[in-house]
Amino acid sequence: MFAYLVRRLLATIPVMGVVAIFVFSLLYLSPGDPAVVIGGDTATLEDIAKIREKLGLDRPFLVQFGTWLWNVVRGDLGISIFTNLPVSKLILQRVEPTIALTVSTLLVTVCVAIPMGVLAAWKAGTWIDRLVMAFAVLGFSFPVFVTGYLMIFSLSIWLDLLPVQGYVSITNGFFAFLPNMVLPSLALGMVYIALIARITRASMLEVLSQDYIRTAHSKGLSKPNVLFGHALKNAAVPIVTTLGIGLALLISGVVVTESVFAIPGLGRLTVDAILRRDYPIIQGVILVFSAAYVLINLMIDVTYTFLDPRIRY
């Protein structure tokens, strides 16, 4: 187990290496000379040359990449061009709403999608199954910002049930925090729910045709016991895998959702950075999101041993 963990951790190095090269090239290839930007309007050619030297911009690509990578490994993601603040500090300031939104969406998804998938598989071929599958197709087709605005119009503006936009930190108390999280998590979760419901149904259908399920039924176990205790447990591995892979979908959605619901998280930070062409921030956010994605999927691989004791590493 330990050896496997080490091997998997080492395997993430080339993946993160590719991400690092991509992200660095982004700054390297970006139009405009950072030295000119920093120098300002009054800088002479000599000033700019000096700034270039100080920043190391006159050195070869590989040397620059090495220096940059060393800084990143130590947690230094560079300085934002626009605000002149360290990117790592800006990211830390904005990370809470994004984590809150992601976690609450994950919770909503697991609580809604898995029962839906189980139900559809149990009632396979009936109108319930067809309803769930229809929902899955619709969920895939409605982009998160369309769902988001539809929910704002219907639930916030017409029915006045929930706040329209904004974010209240969880440090102000859970019940102040909750109302602002409901719509964003539902809107963001829609695609994810569709995906997980679909894979749950597929995985459950496969398990429900097994002999041991028939045995469980025939020895008189209750329906819920068979479905959740026996079948779902054995159908769990593909579901958890898809939860991990779908995280990429979720992260893409976070950027948009935060814009729709005016949540001051990493997504907003990214969008503002694009509009200002603040490359160090774009780099930093991509690095953080990709690292999170890779690490979470690594963790998911490790959980397989708990979900299915037959899997040994």
Binding site: L26, I274, Y279
Partner: protein, 293 residues
């Protein structure tokens, strides 16, 4: 031999003529999907003849009028006709969706074939693809858009790059499993050259999953274009695309909801239509996968 086999096949087909009604009853979703898609394509092509005006024509006096008989979908903050903008916007979404699907399928097919047949190349290429896939597609496209100037070509280019890793992984997987199949081994045993095996035996078998994947990529690309434009990193603002129209309506959504709702509705219907066609193609071309999903 081949001729008789073909004749047999047509005989079987001819013995039970399939009526249109039967097709509709058996695959209702595909029929609805392709019908919707056809309507949208026609709408995009004939946009100038559908009662539209110049989608860019400003008319500040008539700004922010709600939907009415004269302005079906209302007017935006610059007095432009939202209906005309939405109808013309279909062009962008469909062109981007189709181009990305074709381009990324072609590039992904090439990479996947080479990588599935050449181990050293495979090791390097798949690490690169893994790295690219760990960057969420929208972020990858955003980053690429930040490097270049806003234009439709660049949007297509950026989304294609974000989608290529998925296609090449799919094709590589198919190639790897096909390589072990008896018919490929037989071909190799009879001394067929590698390129001939690829062209005659491997390539035709990758097409079915590739076409299915292509439609899903088309749907994803339409959404990604709208997201990029909505965030201000996509199609230039002087071209009416659904994402752009929604971005412009964003600050006004409490007073003029229709500016966001109409393009949003068309966007969702288009993606739905493409997805329905994709599901239908999957059921028809890849029955094994269809049973699993």
């Amino acid at each position: 031999m081949a001729v008789t086999a073909l004749d047999d096949a047509t005989d079987i087909g001819a013995s039970r003529p399939v009526t249109i009604r039967e097709i509709v009853r058996r695959h209702p979703t595909v029929v609805i999907g392709s019908g919707l898609l056809l309507a949208l394509v026609l709408m995009a092509i004939f946009a100038p003849y559908l009662g539209t005006v110049d989608p860019q024509a400003l008319s500040p006096i008539r700004r922010l009028r709600g939907p009415s008989e004269q302005y079906w979908f209302g007017t935006d903050m610059l007095g432009r006709d939202v209906y005309s903008r939405v109808v013309y916007g279909a062009r962008i979404s469909l062109v981007v969706g189709l181009s990305v699907a074709l381009l990324s399928s072609a590039i992904g097919l090439a990479i996947g074939l080479v990588s599935g047949f050449n181990r050293p190349v495979d090791a390097v290429v798949m690490r690169i693809m893994d790295g690219m896939m760990s960057i969420p597609a929208v972020l990858l496209a955003i980053a690429l858009m930040a490097l270049t100037k806003a234009s439709i070509e660049n949007v297509i280019f950026a989304i294609t790059i974000a989608e290529v890793p998925r296609v090449s992984r799919l094709v590589r997987g198919v190639v790897l499993s096909l390589r072990e199949q008896p018919f490929v081994e037989a071909a190799r045993a009879t001394g067929t050259r590698s390129w001939r095996i690829v062209v005659r035996h491997i390539l035709p078998n990758t097409l079915a999953p590739l076409i299915v994947q292509g439609t899903y990529i088309c749907a994803a690309a339409i959404i990604t274009e709208a997201i990029l434009s909505f965030l201000g990193a996509g199609t230039p603002p002087n071209i009416p695309s659904w994402g752009n129209i929604m971005a412009e309506g964003r600050s006004l959504f409490q007073v003029a909801a229709y500016i966001i709702l109409f393009p949003g509705m068309f966007l969702s219907i288009t993606v739905l239509a493409v997805n329905l066609v994709g599901d239908g193609l999957r059921d028809a071309l890849d029955p094994r996968l269809a049973r699993r999903m």
